[in-house]
């Protein structure tokens, strides 16, 4: 079957420093994938490169999405095509009220355009779903929001925009138990409502318990070193990354 996201031979990094090396990864429509790896492995970088973050330069390989080569597309085009990256650390934007931001990003998309009244209603529903007070809506985007609140604002956008692929970069980290279950329910709602594909970057396997994971990828030092079924998660949970780190070092040597 044709894949929704296809990453082939991708190498990327900052101007000074290569970070990702010859990566191959595919995600089919509606599938749930998990990306794991030790701190500093390059998971967030991969998410940002898929999104087209100008901080990183692609030095080799291609990214195709929904049948289109998007390797050279700007982030806004990728977003409109249906990719959503939930930030590990969402950015504060003073001077922009959350509500008018949400309205603007919704109206940008022909398939989501709706009347102001319908929009208000929809945002209200999602806020309830995420256990978020509507008071947040008049505040400036992410400004002064707690870590957990910022993650909820990312979920709010995810549920509003219904992307074809959601890359959730540690959306579950730093959440209290209640917030964690709220976010889990949000992810389930996203899967249910639009059958979107997921690429979950996480260190916390609890969030994965309720999800049907199709595929697990392990990344070490900028390389994908293992790929397997959902059971790989339990393996990592018990044995850590040590075994993969050796593989990673071997791959690095072999290349050198």
């Amino acid at each position: 079957m044709s894949q929704l996201l296809n990453i082939s031979g991708l190498s990327a990094g900052t101007e000074e420093k290569p970070i990702l090396h010859d990566m191959n990864l595919s995600v089919g429509a509606g599938e749930t994938h998990v990306l794991m790896g030790p701190n500093g492995a390059g998971k967030s970088t991969l998410g940002h490169v898929i999104m087209g973050d100008p901080v990183y330069k692609v030095s080799g390989g291609t990214i195709t999405f929904d049948g289109q080569d998007i390797t050279d597309k700007t982030p806004d085009k990728r977003s409109l095509a249906g990719i959503f990256l939930s930030y590990q650390a969402p950015v504060e934007v003073p001077g922009v009220p959350l509500y008018s931001f949400l309205r603007t990003i919704t109206q940008m998309r022909p398939e989501l355009k709706m009347t102001a009244r319908k929009f208000r209603q929809r945002v209200g529903e999602i806020c309830d779903q995420l256990d978020m007070g509507q008071g947040f809506l008049t505040r400036e985007l992410n400004v002064g929001f707690s870590g957990g609140e910022k993650k909820k604002v990312e979920m709010l956008q995810l549920l509003l925009l219904k992307p074809k692929l959601a890359i959730l970069d540690e959306t579950d980290s730093g959440l209290d138990v209640d917030a964690l279950s709220v976010v889990s329910r949000g992810i389930e709602a996203y899967r249910r409502e639009c059958d979107g594909a997921l690429l979950m970057i996480t260190h916390n396997t609890r969030i994965l318990e309720k999800l049907d994971v199709d595929r697990t990828h392990v990344m070490v030092k900028g390389r994908l070193v293992a790929e397997g079924p959902a059971s790989l998660i339990d393996d990592i949970d018990q044995n850590g990354f040590a075994r993969f780190e050796q593989d990673g070092a071997a791959a690095q040597k072999a290349e050198a």
Binding site: V93, T104, I105, F119
Partner: protein, 388 residues
């Protein structure tokens, strides 16, 4: 600067809009010099305002007052009677397409409450200079809400000089939305002459392209236990130039008074020139004066984040401007003012975004904004006659 053809007589208003104390000369931001038309009034009968308005100190100063009173086709005088709370909003309509010059005086009697709305609006690309001179006396215990909108085009210059004299216990609430003109020169002077006066002055401004904004705010606190809050909030894009002079003058005898001034400006353009000169003058021991300024710029990470959610670079920058129009549409709710803000939003953000802005806020434009304004003018004239 707009160019004038040789046949049109002009006069130069040299070094106007000056602050009370000209200390920081090195910023070269103490005044502005403006070239304005000088017409001779042909046959119109001009009624000057009652003499009592002569004592009201204005923001732009005497030269501008003299010029306006020599150019205005007529003056508008409105008296709001003692204790009257439901007076219709007093609208000063400045059609900048026609280069209108307005001279208005409002007397808010004891304990009354009045709303004054000054709207400079225009959409034409023909060079024009418009002006409004607005002097207001707010008697003991009275309340004034003043809303000012400048929403015209890059081809137009607009001068707005405001003077307010407030007696004991008066409260002043001033909201200014400077949303565009080639040159906007605005001076505001509020004098709290009696004890327990209150003034809140909030200025929202947008400068883009090659626009010039020259703002002079003066709050004089002469009475005891006065309170002044002065806040400016702006966005400067492209090659816009802004000079802001904000003075809080804590005069001897005004013990127990407190004044606060703070500006937040977002700079987004390599050609932007942003100058601010805040001054607290203090001639009294038992007072408090503070000022603060925050100059921010739109960070690349912020733009990246917004682009990741589907906005192009321009749309992302426009989001900040949009928020300013949001505030203006909500707060400048008088029909003519709202219409002017909306028309300006159409020009700055495009028709679709402007409409979207209204819809999102759940607002509608009064279809008869213009006519309503005519009614308000009629009220003003009627009051004027009864007061004469």
């Amino acid at each position: 600067m707009a160019s004038y053809t040789a046949e049109e007589p002009t006069v130069t208003l040299e070094r106007v809009n000056t602050p009370p104390a000209q200390t920081w000369n090195y910023l070269k931001t103490n005044d502005i010099t403006l070239t304005v038309p000088k017409l001779s009034r042909k046959g119109d009968v001009y009624f000057a305002l009652p003499r009592l308005f002569d004592k009201v100190e204005t923001g732009m100063g005497q030269k501008v007052t003299d010029w306006v009173t020599s150019q205005a086709a007529d003056s508008t005088y409105v008296e709001v009677k003692a204790g009257e709370k439901n007076h219709a909003p007093i609208v000063v309509d400045v059609d900048s397409n026609a280069g209108t010059v307005q001279d208005a005086g409002v007397l808010v009697r004891q304990g009354a409450s009045a709303t004054v709305v000054v709207v400079a609006h225009g959409t034409s690309a023909e060079p024009q200079t418009s002006a409004a001179l607005v002097r207001i006396i707010v008697e003991e215990g009275a309340h004034l809400s003043l809303v000012e909108v400048v929403a015209t085009t890059d081809a137009h210059h607009h001068l707005e000089s405001v003077g307010i004299h407030a007696d004991a216990g008066a409260t002043l609430d001033i909201r200014q939305f400077l949303l565009g003109a080639g040159v906007t020169a605005l001076g505001t002077c509020a004098t709290l002459a009696g004890d327990n006066g209150r003034v809140s002055l909030q200025t929202h401004y947008l400068g883009e392209h090659e626009q010039t904004l020259d703002i002079n705010h003066v709050v004089r606190m002469a009475g005891k236990n006065g309170r002044a809050e002065v806040h400016e909030n702006g966005i400067l894009n492209d090659s816009a130039r802004k000079s802001l002079r904000a003075t809080i003058d804590l005069i001897h005898g005004g013990s127990g008074s407190k004044g606060n001034e703070a500006e937040t400006v977002l700079v987004n353009g390599d050609g932007v020139v942003n100058k601010t000169m805040p001054v607290i003058l203090c001639d009294e021991d038992d007072v408090q004066g503070n000022h603060g300024a925050t100059i921010g710029s739109v960070e690349p990470e912020q733009i990246d984040y917004l682009m990741d959610r589907g906005l192009s670079r321009d749309e992302a920058t426009n989001l900040f401007v949009r928020a300013l129009f949001d505030d203006a549409l909500i707060e400048a709710d008088q029909p003519l003012a709202r219409k002017a803000v909306f028309e300006r939003a159409q020009q700055v953000l495009g028709a679709e975004v402007a409409q979207n802005l209204l819809d999102t806020l759940g607002l509608e434009l009064a279809a008869d904004a213009g006519e309503k304004d005519a009614d308000a003018q009629a009220t003003a004239t009627a009051t004027k006659e009864s007061a004469d």
